[in-house]
């Protein structure tokens, strides 16, 4: 296939991945990598490098909007970034050494988990009455705007949130994704943050985490400019449009259909991985 045609098709696919990724909350990276590997036969190492830069672009581009709404908690974000950036270093270290079949297998499993997490409704659990003393010492408890005025929240289980964030960072560095689903686990389930706060804070962290591993990928020659160009521009345009449509559209049917597609892609990647390993 000539470069011109390939670039056009990848740009369109990346646009769709960014759009659907942002509408469904899965993120662009989780969608673009199976599209490139399963759909276009691209080596997964090229796909991961290209996806990683698109993850930085979407996260940083959306930061201004999230900040204006006043949901993000910069102290929680910065503290947990110690865990995610260290994890990202480990992830990139593993990515340079693991066989691609193993990476494909892990990706497939993470994809199924992500689709499952994003298909469930997110609700705030009961408020935490007594915060983790560590959270108080780290001044993490905060407040955010709601319809009924400013609402205060306390933060629970800082150590387990920190540990899960290390896992999220490792997966991000290994697979070239934002690992939104594991961050939800850490911040919603363990630390019990209101989900609007955790969504905004997670977006804040994704760009910094991805930058830690993207630098390594670039230096190691894993980022191919001819592929990264249409992927980055396409995902950025698609996710910007998707974020605008998010509040207008009823996404429940879309989530189901899309969840089924993701599931099939995940099985394909697990199959590829197992075939390569056995």
């Amino acid at each position: 296939m000539p470069v011109l045609l390939f670039t056009a098709i990848v740009a369109l696919g990346a646009f769709a991945a960014g759009f659907l990724g942002s509408l469904t909350g899965l993120g662009g990276g989780v969608v673009i990598i199976p599209l490139l590997t399963v759909g276009f036969g691209v080596d997964i190492r090229y796909a991961i490098g290209a996806s990683l830069v698109s993850v930085i672009a979407t996260s940083s581009g959306a930061a201004a909007a999230y900040v204006r709404e006043g949901f993000s908690n910069i102290r929680i974000g910065m503290f947990l970034e110690i865990a995610t950036t260290l994890g990202a270093l480990l992830g990139a270290f593993l990515a340079l050494r693991l066989p691609t079949a193993a990476i494909s297998l892990i990706f497939g499993l993470v994809l199924i988990h992500s689709a499952w997490v994003s298909s469930r409704p997110r609700e705030d659990g009961a408020a935490v009455s007594r915060p983790d003393p560590l959270a108080t010492r780290l001044r993490m408890n905060g407040s955010y705007p709601t319809k009924d005025g400013t609402k205060h929240y306390n933060v629970a289980s800082v150590p387990s949130g920190f540990g899960l964030m290390f896992v999220a960072g490792t997966l991000s560095g290994l697979l070239g994704i934002g690992s939104g689903a594991v961050k939800v686990l850490a911040m919603d389930q363990a630390m019990r943050l209101p989900f609007k706060v955790s969504t905004a804070t997670s977006n804040f962290m994704i760009g910094v985490t991805a930058a830690a591993s993207a630098g390594i990928y670039l230096r190691q020659g894993y980022i191919d400019p001819g592929l990264a160009m249409p992927v980055m521009l396409g995902v950025l345009a698609g996710s910007t449009l998707g974020a605008r449509r998010l509040y207008a559209a009823d996404t429940s049917t879309l989530r189901k259909v899309f969840g089924a597609v993701i599931f099939v892609l995940a099985l394909e990647m697990i199959y590829t991985g197992l075939r390569g390993l056995l």
Binding site: V67, M78, I82, L89, R139, G207, G226, A228
Partner: protein, 124 residues
């Protein structure tokens, strides 16, 4: 509450800087893309076999040289380098934000994050 407001003010500025960083790097990537496609658009695309990029497209010095010689792929890599620098710049600005608030604990936390990022860029 005063602290929260200050946080917000700093954060809004940082958010705008981030967007400017993303847009300018996207513009450089797009410009490089046009040059790349004009020169190599009819070649065959080959991504099923993995080969590492040569040093002039993976190290900072080589990327700058290629970009200033107006090589399409060099320009794309320069745009991507700017993109990777954008969240790192954000962390640097956060250090100043916390310094301004005299929040020494978080100055230290932010410096640790910055050190990890710089380590990954230099030694990764």
């Amino acid at each position: 509450m005063a602290r929260k407001l200050m946080d917000q003010e700093i954060e809004v500025t940082i958010g705008q800087l981030l967007r400017a960083g993303v847009l300018s790097s996207a513009a450089v990537v797009a410009a490089g893309g046009v040059l790349y496609l004009a020169r190599h658009g009819l070649a065959a695309a080959e991504y099923s076999v993995f080969t590492r990029q040569p040093p002039e497209l993976s190290g900072a010095a080589g990327i700058f040289r290629c970009a200033f010689a107006l090589h399409g792929r060099g320009l794309i890599q320069l745009g991507l380098l700017m993109l990777i620098a954008t969240p790192i710049a954000r962390v640097v600005f956060s250090v100043f934000g916390f310094l301004k608030e005299r929040d020494w604990l978080y100055v230290a936390v932010t410096l640790v994050v910055l050190a990890i990022l710089l380590y990954s860029l230099i030694n990764g």
